[in-house]
């Protein structure tokens, strides 16, 4: 939902600002002529192109953050944990339906296209040939990788800080965290806003990459793929997520490539089957993980804060800090 929101907002902002900055008339951003003018402006004015991109990203992050704040209101008040997934599903579908049926937002069902990468103008300075198209895209991909690394480092920093420890405590035992005078709902709200800002950023980056923003792209199967990434790598674990994302993206690209290869051998093959097959494989992966390896491939690790190094936890000569699991409980722990 936040991912889609970022995409649509980013695209709309870009489409509105490009002509505005370049002094061209702001017409209907949805029709075909505006698409062509967007492309020509992006080609002609490098500075405007890049600055609009930055502004669009900022707006997408802002929109993601605001929506995260709004969504955190119901999400934090539900009584059962699975109601949360219900609320987010409803939120995602609401977003899709509203965008589809409201032409004022992102041009409704048809979506908004002609969003070129911020380095599109480079092709002016390049000799014509395959490079002309590849260099701006490649450069943009490099920028995305940099931003992704930035987000990863940021997330790692958060997780391995006292704040990260607070997050874990809130997740594992809300009551205990409350008893230690931690404002649980504020922490949850904060983290939801941070998460949705990142998702908004990702959405805008994605739209700039593929060039169009249509609501029908943001189907539940996309969210599902992200879940599989998360659980595959081991959730509550940034490194695991990285691994999961890598595996699922390989599956995605691999299925595309193999699809093309298969089609060249079997021209009668239905190309849809490759996409469907990929979704089915994702579902099977998730089920197998849930049944056989619920902690994911990389299990959750200890929080690495100052306290960690201070007491040498986890090293061989550490003092026995936790009890082995097989010790029978004393007192009234389990039976009565």
């Amino acid at each position: 939902m936040f991912f889609g929101l970022g995409g649509v907002v980013g695209a709309t902002v870009a489409a509105d600002l490009l002509p505005l900055f370049s002094g061209a008339a702001v017409g209907n951003i949805c029709d075909i002529s505006s698409r062509l003018s967007r492309e020509s402006i992006a080609l002609a004015y490098p500075a405007i192109s890049v600055s609009v991109w930055v502004i669009a990203l900022a707006f997408a992050m802002l929109a993601g953050g605001i929506m995260g704040l709004v969504a955190s209101y119901p999400a934090l008040r539900v009584k059962e944990e699975w109601f949360l997934s219900m609320i987010l599903l409803v939120g995602g579908e609401t977003f899709r339906i509203v965008v589809t049926n409201t032409p004022e937002i992102g041009c409704g069902f048809n979506g908004l296209d002609g969003i070129t990468t911020p380095f599109y103008w480079l092709s002016n300075y390049l000799p014509s040939g395959p490079l002309q198209a590849e260099v701006p895209t490649g450069l943009y991909a490099a920028v995305i990788v940099l931003l992704a690394i930035g987000c990863f480092v940021f997330a790692q920093k958060i997780c391995n800080s006292p704040y990260g420890r607070l997050l874990k405590s809130v997740r594992d035992d809300k009551v205990a965290a409350e008893a230690l005078a931690k404002d649980v709902s504020r922490v949850r709200k904060q983290i939801m806003v941070i998460g949705s800002i990142m998702a908004g950023l990702a959405g805008a980056l994605y739209v700039y990459y593929i060039g169009v923003a249509t609501p029908e792209d943001y189907i539940p199967a996309l969210t599902f793929g992200i879940w599989v990434m998360m659980i595959l790598g081991g959730y509550a674990n940034n490194r695991g997520l990285l691994l999961g994302a890598f595996v699922i993206t390989m599956l995605d690209r691999g299925s595309l490539v193999s699809g093309i290869a298969l089609e060249s051998y079997f021209p009668t093959l239905n190309s849809n089957l490759i996409v469907y097959g990929r979704y089915m494989v994702e579902a099977v992966i998730l089920l197998l993980l849930l049944v056989f390896r619920r902690k994911g491939l990389l299990p959750e690790t200890r929080v690495k804060t100052k306290a960690y190094t201070l007491f040498d936890f986890g090293k061989k000569n550490a003092k026995p800090s936790s009890q082995p699991a097989e010790v029978p409980p004393k007192g009234d722990a389990t039976t009565g």
Binding site: E326, D332, A333, T334, G336
Partner: protein, 238 residues
């Protein structure tokens, strides 16, 4: 009738019962006593297949029932009154009694048992259409015992049946247990906090401490052993 040998059992990977052995003969009234958290409930749950058994064997009337499923064990005519959740709160009293006897094949026998239950606990008859969740604490315990009896058990296991009851209601329930034992000739295992009361009714006692059998013998032997009393049952217990 029931024989437990070197039992190690618990929940998940956690062993709570540590190497317990004891025997129950037909017609016995065994009281299992011990402090909070000593594993009394876990021990009886192990008999019924509700725990993970790591080591040891449980034999009932010559059949090895170790690690059987609870629903299969119930068919061997073991009646069980759990400490908590001992009735179906959303079903009526009569439905509770009916499902208690789900393992009894013979319809005539089933009716006979239900008549007997109603005779023991007349209150259940007047409440028969009511939802069990709306019964009072005492009525609910009576229904729980009645439900277990409807299965025509050879061995009746009760897990702290009087835990949340007023003393006078608890006393009535104990009287009924004595009556049941005389009338139906069932073997009874009673888990109790109130050691004095339980040992007073029983002909054999088992003291459980930290998942281990600390003492086994007749109530007289237990009440004479000053160490057991002081260490585990409290000064006032006997």
């Amino acid at each position: 009738m029931l024989e437990i040998r070197n039992l190690v059992s618990g929940y998940g990977k956690l062993a709570i019962i540590q190497d317990v052995s004891f025997k129950v003969d037909a017609g016995d009234f065994v009281a299992i006593v011990g402090p909070n958290g000593s594993g009394k409930s876990t021990l009886v749950k192990s008999i019924l297949g509700l725990t993970n058994i790591f080591e040891g064997t449980i034999t009932f009337e010559g059949t090895n029932i170790t690690s059987w499923k609870p629903e299969k064990i119930a068919k061997l005519k073991l009646g069980y009154v759990p400490q908590l959740g001992n009735v179906f709160p959303d079903l009526s009293v009569s439905e509770n009694l009916e499902l208690g006897g789900v393992t009894v094949r013979d319809e005539g026998q089933k009716r006979k048992m239900r008549e007997l239950v109603v005779e023991l606990f007349p209150i259940l008859k007047s409440r028969s259409g009511q939802r069990a969740g709306l019964l009072s604490g005492g009525e609910r315990q009576m229904l729980a015992v009645g439900r277990a009896l409807a299965a025509e058990p050879k061995l009746l296991i009760l897990d702290e049946p009087t835990a949340a009851l007023a003393p006078i209601v608890a006393e009535q329930l104990f009287q009924r247990l004595v009556e049941i034992r005389q009338k139906l000739n069932v073997t009874i295992i009673l888990v109790e906090q109130n050691a004095r009361k339980a040992l007073g009714l029983a002909n054999r006692g088992l003291v459980l401490v930290q998942g281990k059998s600390a003492f086994e013998g007749t109530p007289d032997q237990i009440s004479k052993d000053k160490d057991i009393i002081r260490l585990f049952l409290g000064e006032l217990a006997i």
